[in-house]
Homo-oligomer: 333 residues x 2
């Protein structure tokens, strides 16, 4: 069943009211067949959704996007925001070594929010759910003075032990699936007014609509990963989380973290530092894993460092040298 | 382990920062043992929580409270808001005939929000989780221009078929567990400046902190309920949802819906109508069920009407007469 339009582009969330908006979103999602592996028993529209319980562990995470803080409607379409809300939640599921199964979305927004924007957002959520192999199973619409999108993702371990942040061992290989830096570069471009650019299309898209490598989460778990996290807050900050939770240090290899060529040009143009983007830029949702030495890395992963001893002092080294700095990445040797 | 204080009452969310706030909330929840029946494998603090999958169906629902729309900090404590956020979500689980198992909470708020208020909110969430037998397993903190609290509840059917809105059959008994009206009466009192009153303490508490009868959900399912919903938007509106989903009418019995004595006095004082509170007041989160005629009603339920034929016209009757009115409960005979 095709999604029904909620009305003319001139209509707003407030003029339509909650019931019609929810009906519109439901029309979009209940028509879609839930992907195989979701086990949908009762879909949206009742007090709650019901799923067949997944095999193995049930994985749960929640994350929020706030207008003005995490996105701007001048920079991102409704579909971008919806896809990003789904992606950042599913990335947390993958970061446990698990498979995304379902998503619930709560949308708060001003009454004047164009109905077309809301439709577009739900299309973006649906598209990212489809990419993840998950189903949108529940939602809620509220009035608020700015747009707030909270997603809650449900995942399944499929019987493989979840991979925590705390299992890294001295001698492990540190590996990355995906890339860090493009989302920060895209943000820097948007902040200086570059909203459309053929040259920087990849970087702008990375900021607007991250594409986490979901399958690489379970692949890491099956390959015996000792620790796993997604790079939501920057490579160094997220590496430090693994280091602290595991009581080790992560020594990153500068040669493996050279900025991609298309990061260097905009950095020069903006007076920014491309390596800072790579090391501290957030929102890429790449997967950072540790594997026992000698592990054949799963597809998409490449070695970027080594786990070394030490639980005092700086948790992350760069080419064997301590990272020095205060609250952020203010200096590296 | 006792929850650690995040600092002096003068500290705010903004001055503490996300990491310390989250640490404070985690300290409160990770110290608490998860109740039996939750199956917590990995608690809060990693990318996602992991639970043993529940037996039978997995039940999922999400709901949001927005400052100014759903609560006012002048009227409700942080603990009230936290408890209400948990309660309205768990009520949706109970309304499927299921048992609350876990909750995730996303909290968006201004930087100036007092840290003590946030602590208080997390205490309220934790208290309602304990009352429901569920565990707080995940959370997220964001900056926003007003407080927005989104809860996502996880439940288990424990192998009993979930009770939908759509199963009511002609001849069924309509039954209510809990009371409707007190939350609306409490709101009316608050709106006219009565924030503290020994006389009306029960009504004020009903608005600030609903106490849904969670166990009555699974009890209804085991007793063979054909339809079930919680009264979040008012008895008539929620009864109409059952009626429409089931293709029947619900005929409510005026004699069974006489306002409680302590609703009559404030209604007279405020120039309001106590029966309108009973029939249209929301936020009580009582459970409205239909049972086959002759069913021994589970503890706490009392008959308030009958399911009758008819899918055209008004979905809810009152003493056999159609409810006439437009968008709301503007008249009843």
């Amino acid at each position: 069943m095709a999604a029904e339009s909620v009305g003319s582009p001139a209509e707003s969330a407030g003029s339509l009211g909650e019931d019609r908006l929810v009906a519109s979103v439901l029309a979009r999602v209940t028509g879609a067949d839930a992907p195989a592996g979701v086990g949908l028993v009762v879909g949206p529209g009742d007090d709650a959704a019901v799923l067949a319980p997944p095999v193995g562990g049930l994985v749960l995470s929640t994350d929020t996007l706030v207008e003005g803080q995490d996105f701007r409607t001048a920079w991102s379409s409704g579909a971008d925001v919806g896809a990003k809300a789904a992606a950042q939640n599913f990335a947390d599921i993958a970061a446990m070594g698990a498979r995304p199964v379902a998503l619930l979305v709560s949308l708060s927004m001003p009454g004047g929010t164009p109905a077309g924007w809301v439709e577009d957002l739900s299309a973006g959520v649906a598209a990212e759910c489809a990419r993840a192999g998950a189903a949108l199973v529940g939602g809620d619409v509220s009035a608020a003075s700015e747009v707030v999108v909270t997603g809650t993702a449900v995942g399944a371990t499929d019987g493989v032990a979840p991979v925590l942040r705390s299992g890294a061992r001295v001698g492990d290989v540190v590996a990355l699936c995906g890339e860090t830096g493009p989302a920060a570069a895209g943000l820097a471009l948007l902040e200086t007014g570059t909203t459309h650019s053929e040259e920087f299309a990849r970087l702008l898209a990375a900021q607007r609509r991250p594409v986490p490598p979901y399958a690489a989460g379970p692949a890491a778990a099956r390959a015996g990963a000792t620790a796993l996290i997604d790079t939501s807050d920057g490579l160094v900050r997220d590496a430090a989380r693994i280091a602290r939770a595991s009581g080790v240090r992560l020594d990153l290899d500068p040669a493996a973290l050279e900025p991609a060529p298309d990061l260097v040009a905009p950095a020069e143009r903006l007076g920014a530092d491309a390596r800072t983007w790579v090391l501290t830029g957030g929102e890429d949702h790449a997967l950072l894993a540790c594997f026992p030495a000698g592990t054949a890395l799963p597809p998409g992963y490449r070695a970027i460092g080594t786990v070394v001893e030490g639980s005092d002092g700086p948790p992350v080294l760069f080419g064997g040298l301590p990272w020095r700095g205060g609250s952020g990445w203010t200096h590296w040797a």
